[in-house]
């Protein structure tokens, strides 16, 4: 497969940025970014929702509890993004083809978004403080539990946020808007100081 080049490759160089006091020891806030091996949006028709859910559960070995629950394992992450819609990240390059084969048009639709999103991972105690500067949702654990996801926006750019654990978030950002989003996130995070690390997925 041809190497995918993300627009952020040239911007996110490892190292420490922002608030000088942290130059000594490691900054608590860590930021990394990755492109997806496979990323698909699966849409079910109104009456085929259950069928699609069981198909996805079988293919990903995850169990879907409905609502905003977003289960994940090493291979897959399933994020419900709307009524009868799922955004699924897969670690294998050929996952898109497998979903397209499994889900026939009568059951639903599969759209390949592998190139359409870049994933920025931000983790650390200050992650919520930084994200809350630009994203108008409640990041408290009651309102945004771990292993759930939110479709929301920053500065009218829509993005999907998956809460991996209490202080770690994966931000699925539109590829063409990734540099503009990074321009904001870099400045927002510099106030507390952050470190860019290798993609840890």
């Amino acid at each position: 497969m041809v190497e995918k080049t993300s627009p952020l490759d040239k911007l996110l160089k490892t190292g420490h940025y922002g608030k000088p006091e942290n130059t000594g020891e490691q900054a608590d806030l860590k930021i990394s970014h990755r492109t997806c091996e496979s990323l698909v949006q699966v849409t079910a028709w109104p009456k085929t929702g259950k069928g699609i859910a069981t198909t996805l559960e079988k293919m990903t070995h995850l169990s879907l509890q409905g609502g905003d629950a977003s289960p994940a394992n090493e291979d897959f992450t399933i994020m419900p993004t709307g009524p009868g819609q799922y955004l699924i990240e897969a670690q294998s390059g050929d996952a898109t083809g497998r979903f397209q084969k499994k889900i026939i048009p009568a059951k639903g639709a599969v759209t390949d978004l592998t190139h359409a999103r870049v994933v920025i991972r931000i983790s650390g105690d200050q992650a919520v403080w930084v994200l809350a500067k630009g994203i108008a949702i409640d990041f408290s654990l009651q309102a945004f539990p771990v292993a759930t996801s939110r479709n929301t926006a920053h500065h009218q750019i829509s993005l999907t946020i998956h809460r991996v654990n209490e202080n770690t978030f994966d931000l699925f950002v539109f590829t063409s808007l990734a540099c503009s989003f990074w321009h904001w996130l870099d400045r927002a995070a510099k106030e507390v100081g952050y470190e860019i690390v290798r993609n840890v997925k």
């Binding site: 028709w45 109104p46 905003d68 993004t81 709307g82 009524p83 009868g84 819609q85 108008a136 949702i137 939110r150 479709n151 929301t152 926006a153 009218q156 829509s158």
Partner: protein, 93 residues
């Protein structure tokens, strides 16, 4: 304003875009009466009080929501999903 998206929960109005009067019924595809078409396109009740209107959750789940909101106080009284997953369609079948 906070709009209670039936799928995503209460969200800031910044994530939505306004789609106008929610009481307009587009004439059937077979109906080509000029009066019906121009009434649908141009007539607005524009009430001062409770108003049925449509908001699109463009920066959320991208569904359309039928909102009952008072145009004097901005108080939102109800939010209901439109489209294939609207509760009204489920009841009818």
């Amino acid at each position: 304003m906070l709009i209670d998206c039936p799928w995503c929960g209460p969200r800031s109005v910044e994530e939505f875009s306004y789609r106008g009067d929610g009481t307009l019924k587009r004439p059937a595809l077979s109906d080509n009466s000029m009066n019906a078409a121009s009434a649908y396109v141009y007539n607005r009740e524009n009430p001062a009080g409770d108003h049925m209107e449509i908001w699109h959750h463009g920066n959320g789940c991208r569904s359309h929501i039928l909102v009952k909101r008072n145009t004097l106080t901005h108080k939102i009284l109800s939010c209901e999903l439109l489209g294939p997953y609207s509760p009204k369609r489920k009841k009818k079948k």
